[in-house]
């Protein structure tokens, strides 16, 4: 109430009291005059009386400000005044302003951009009801999926939670036939939407009833899918959507804010887990105790802690694992399985493959841009120092007129914050664009990234925080330094001598040394990432990636019985091989350089394994001419041929390292490798008929793996999906129509996906490529900033010492010795900076090891390279002003002095 009245008085006063300053001045003047008059009657001279009155009165300027302060709007007033003043001074030196704003915009922009991605994939909470009550239910500490039997057990024993849900992401094919059109799908449990607290916007969401075995095929669709594919028509309810050739009836639409649980793509269609057998007929996923495909989430009851729920889950774990143990696996593995337990992890931020995959890369980039901003700050601080030296007269006049030191510092800080704010405004706009660009760079056709990057309060707070911190970093020390002046001296003497020069110079030397150190860290980092990229680009992947078209064919819904799959695929392959322009064509069950894989333990003849894992083979089943098509040389033995069929003895081609590992120096041809379990019902002994050169299996940067290839013609139970590799002489895209009609000629219902192998390979290098290019761009920027910094410091030193240089030259000093005189100082800075930089690089190198391939952090050659680059560039930056010093005319220099 009182506060309100005060505001009212404040406002009224503000509106009426325009003469506030004049009134106050008059009032104070009267006071001083009366006091002086009183003193004078004591018999003191008028002048003395007046100064005595002043002494008793105190600092009038300061008191006037305090009086204004009393009304609460001084702060605003002085702030506005400071701001106006700041704008005026900055307009007066546009070059300075533009340089500062630009470097801050780049620095702050880069930081905001990386942070907004980091925020989206790692920090932001899921758009669901009370996301912090959600926990991920996982087995042990591993992030792996669970089987449906485990989920059903958890669902039916959910005392620990107020609700549980399970889901799995899968892409579904919307097309009725021919080329596939994929949509992002989710398998969800009946309670999925209820537990998350996501209501239906139209229609209804699922209930537990919809997730019963044999239930109707129903679908809940996302708002964006509804808008995109159904025109946002309310009549869409009750219509059907085709998923992998099966029709699902749409029962509801979720609100626009719900985009699913994965943060790197939003869901389109959700269907009940119980419908899985419709789409996956070949194995009973619902009862399979070995198919790990679901993620489980629970909601902690209100008022309970995670550890309470975890204790309860742990107490029922033995029962659950006993009931779901896979009987197919060996007894000792069953025992291990039964001993597993659950652990709960907060799930508020959702799930993100990107987050897990790019975590280190994102954090590294965040650190890099942070360092760049620091370097930019050092530069700006240096500029401000130089400016402060030039503004000494102005500042000392202000201070001698009664402006308090803090008042001047505040004025200087206002300028800094103003600069920083403009910089960050531009930076923010830059970041909006930059973060989208970066996500676009990381997005691939096979795995499009869809990350919600719209700035939220956290990103805004981050930018504002960085802005203020930046201003403090670059502005505060120069402001304090600039106001630490001997007033009399400045006013009496020339500006040059005013601030104790050597000390001013020390701060800027320190800044430059820091810049050198940070730049070296960034250069070393960039070198490591570029080295990684170079290794990946030049490594021998074991195949030639150009001019190969990958065609994945899914026969699941094409009405081809399992018994006829082999012959159907063989017929298609024969037709593909006869397309004009096709050099060679082959098929494989695993897509080369794809995300999938098939690995099993093996029993190689005569090989004594130290651990079972030693016998792990990465497998593929390929047709004849696969090696010819991929241009993977066969080093020994022969390729598969038509005689390798179901009636002949099983054969295998192994990779070079497999042969070396299992059979060392012995001739591998004719040896046997046994396999059991997994894809094989019973023990099968394969005879080695050939050795192929090593090739990459999933990614270019994988460590060497042991590979083995089986013959497609000996596949007793072919999978419904197969990949054809087609090598042509022409650009591969031109082949697509011919391939489509060739496949269509055999079976029109086979679903096809086309991809260029080269693109596929390049996309597997995306992260190293992006990290390397960003790291080297930023390192380059850092180098330029450091050069500018060093140039500035050297140039300043030359100006400051021009008198000394003049005397030296007048006394006969040679130009080279003058240059050396200047450079000696710079070398010292460089040397110290490099020592710190090297220490920093060694420490930082260890943190990024997981992002490197084929280069070791801390290798001397690489460090030397970075040191030399930095030394060369900075020496050049210092040499230019030093040479100018040597060209000084001694007469002029001395006359100036």
């Amino acid at each position: 109430m009182n506060k309100l009245r005060e505001w009212w008085r404040q406002l009224r006063f503000r509106l009426m009291g325009q003469s506030f300053d004049a009134d106050l001045a008059e009032e104070m003047r009267l006071h001083l005059d009366l006091r002086a008059a009183e003193k004078q009657t004591d018999g003191i001279s008028p002048a003395e009386a007046e100064s005595s009155a002043r002494r008793r009165f105190g600092n009038a300027t300061l008191l006037r400000e305090k009086s204004r302060d009393a009304w609460g709007w001084t702060s605003l007033d002085t702030w506005l005044q400071d701001l106006r003043y700041a704008i005026r001074t900055l307009i007066a030196s546009p070059g300075f302003a533009v340089t500062v704003v630009l470097s801050l915009a780049l620095g702050i922009g880069a930081n905001t951009a990386i942070f907004s991605i980091l925020n989206a994939v790692m920090l932001r909470s899921l758009p669901v009801e009370d996301p912090h009550g959600l926990v991920k239910i996982q087995i042990g500490e591993s992030d792996d999926d669970v089987t449906n039997p485990i989920w059903e057990q958890v669902r039916d024993h959910q005392q620990a939670f107020s609700g549980t849900l399970a889901y799995s992401s899968e892409r579904f094919d919307l097309a009725a036939g021919g080329e596939s059109r994929f949509t992002e799908g989710m398998w969800v449990s009946g309670d999925f939407f209820r537990v998350l607290g996501v209501p239906a916007m139209e229609g209804r969401v699922f209930s537990a009833d919809d997730d019963r075995r044999g239930a109707e095929p129903l679908a809940v669709i996302s708002y964006s899918f509804w808008q995109r594919n159904l025109g946002g028509d309310a009549g869409a309810l009750g219509k059907t959507v085709r998923l992998n050739r099966h029709l699902f009836t749409i029962v509801g639409v979720t609100p626009p804010w719900f985009t699913g649980l994965d943060v790197d793509h939003s869901y389109d269609v959700a269907i009940p887990i119980a419908c899985n057998p419709m789409l996956h007929t070949e194995r009973n996923v619902l009862d399979s105790r070995l198919t790990w495909w679901l993620q489980m989430i629970g909601r902690i009851p209100a008022g309970e802690s995670i550890s309470q729920a975890q204790d309860r889950m742990r107490s029922i774990a033995p029962e659950i694992f006993r009931a779901t143990v896979p009987l197919e696996i060996p007894a000792e593995n069953q025992k291990e399985y039964r001993q597993r337990s659950f652990s709960l992890k907060p799930a508020a931020t959702g799930f993100s493959e990107t987050g897990a995959q790019y975590r280190t890369a994102l954090l590294t980039l965040m650190a890099i841009v942070g360092l760049v901003l620091l370097i930019a700050c050092a530069n700006v601080a240096n500029l401000l120092l130089a400016r402060a030296a030039a503004r000494q007269r102005e500042l000392s006049v202000r201070m001698s007129m009664g402006a308090g030191r803090w008042r001047v510092i505040r004025q200087l800080m206002t300028e800094s914050i103003f600069l920083s704010a403009i910089g960050s405004t531009f930076g923010f706009l830059l970041a909006l664009w930059g973060s989208r660009l970066l996500v676009h760079m990381l997005s691939t056709t096979a795995h499009p990234l869809e990350i919600n990057l719209s700035p939220d309060p956290r990103v805004l707070a981050f930018t504002i925080g960085v802005t203020l911190l930046t201003a403090l970093l670059f502005g505060f020390a120069p402001a304090v330094r600039a106001t630490k002046i001997e007033l009399n001296q400045v006013l009496k003497e020339s500006a040059r001598a005013a601030v104790p020069g050597a000390r001013r110079f020390n701060l800027s030397k320190l800044l430059v040394t820091g810049q050198v150190a940070l730049s070296l860290v960034l250069l070393v980092g960039a070198g490591l990432f570029l080295g990684t990229l170079r290794n990946l680009l030049t490594l021998d992947a074991g195949f030639t990636r150009r001019n190969i078209l990958l065609v994945s064919a899914e026969a699941q819904e094409a009405g081809v019985p399992e018994a006829r799959r082999l012959s159907t695929f063989q017929e298609i392959l024969a037709r593909l091989q006869s397309i004009p322009g096709v050099v060679a064509a082959a098929s494989s069950s695993i897509e080369p350089m794809g995300r999938g894989g098939w690995a099993q333990l093996s029993q190689p003849e005569g090989f004594v394994a130290k651990s079972p894992r030693d016998t792990l083979l990465f497998l593929n089943r390929v047709s004849s001419k696969y090696f010819e098509t991929m241009r993977t040389p066969l080093l020994l033995g022969r390729d598969f041929n038509d005689r390798d069929n179901l009636n002949s003895a099983p054969v295998v081609i192994v990779s070079e390292s497999t042969a070396r590992k299992f059979f060392s120096a012995a001739n591998p041809i004719g040896k046997t490798i046994g396999l059991e379990g997994g894809a094989f019902d019973k023990y099968v002994a394969f005879q080695v008929i050939g050795v192929a050169k090593d090739a990459k299996y999933n990614r270019l940067n994988e460590s060497p793996r042991s590979l083995a290839y089986f013959a497609a013609g000996q596949d007793p139970a072919p999978w419904s999906k197969l990949v054809f590799e087609i090598r042509s002489e022409t650009p591969v895209e031109a082949l697509i129509p011919a391939v489509r009609s060739a496949v269509g000629g055999v079976n029109k219902d086979i679903a096809l996906v086309f991809r260029s192998f080269e693109t596929q390979v390049n996309e597997s290098m995306l992260q190293p490529r992006v990290v390397a290019s960003l790291a080297s761009t930023f390192a380059g920027l850092a180098l330029v900033l450091a050069m500018v910094g060093l140039y500035g410091v050297t140039a300043y030193a030359v100006t400051r010492r021009s008198g000394e240089i003049g005397i030296r030259m007048a006394l006969g000093a040679q130009r080279t010795s003058v240059i050396w005189l200047i450079l000696r100082d710079v070398m010292l800075l460089l040397g110290i900076g490099m020592v710190f930089g090297l220490a920093g690089s060694l420490a930082a190198g260890r943190l990024v090891t997981s992002l490197l391939y084929g280069v070791r952090p801390n290798n001397p050659a690489q460090l030397t390279g970075a040191v030399l680059t930095l030394a060369l560039c900075t020496a050049l930056a210092a040499y230019l002003p030093a040479r100018r010093a040597a060209q000084l005319d001694p007469m002029n220099a001395l006359r100036d002095e």
Partner: protein, 114 residues
């Protein structure tokens, strides 16, 4: 050293101004300064200028009001007058001051008795 002046304790300035204004009908700044010195027998030293920020703050709080008038020497001066809220404030502050002072004195007396 007889002439030694003590800095006034912070916060007391308001009380002094209110007290002075309570005795007189209206005063301008210089008169307030002199009156404070008088009632404190020149012991309490006020940096005279600091009256003015304090007066402004009191205007804002609604304890005093000010009007321009003319001095005996025919100069324009701002005269301050106590308002009801100011009088209430004065009583409150004096009461509190006496409570604290009484307590301190009690402590000192018991100390002395020992």
């Amino acid at each position: 050293m007889a002439n030694r002046r003590d800095e006034i304790p912070p916060g007391t300035l308001y009380m002094l101004i209110l007290r002075v204004l309570a005795r007189h009908k209206e005063l301008h700044g210089y008169e307030i300064a002199n009156a404070i010195q008088q009632i404190s027998d020149d012991v309490l030293q006020v940096e005279e200028g600091s009256l003015y920020p304090a007066l402004q703050r009191m205007l804002l709080k609604g304890w005093v009001t000010a009007e321009w008038g003319v001095t005996a020497g025919n100069r324009r001066a701002r005269y301050y007058r106590l308002l009801a809220a100011g009088r209430k404030q004065l009583h409150a502050e004096m009461a509190q001051y006496q409570r604290v002072n009484g307590a301190i004195q009690k402590v000192l007396q018991t100390e002395g008795a020992v």
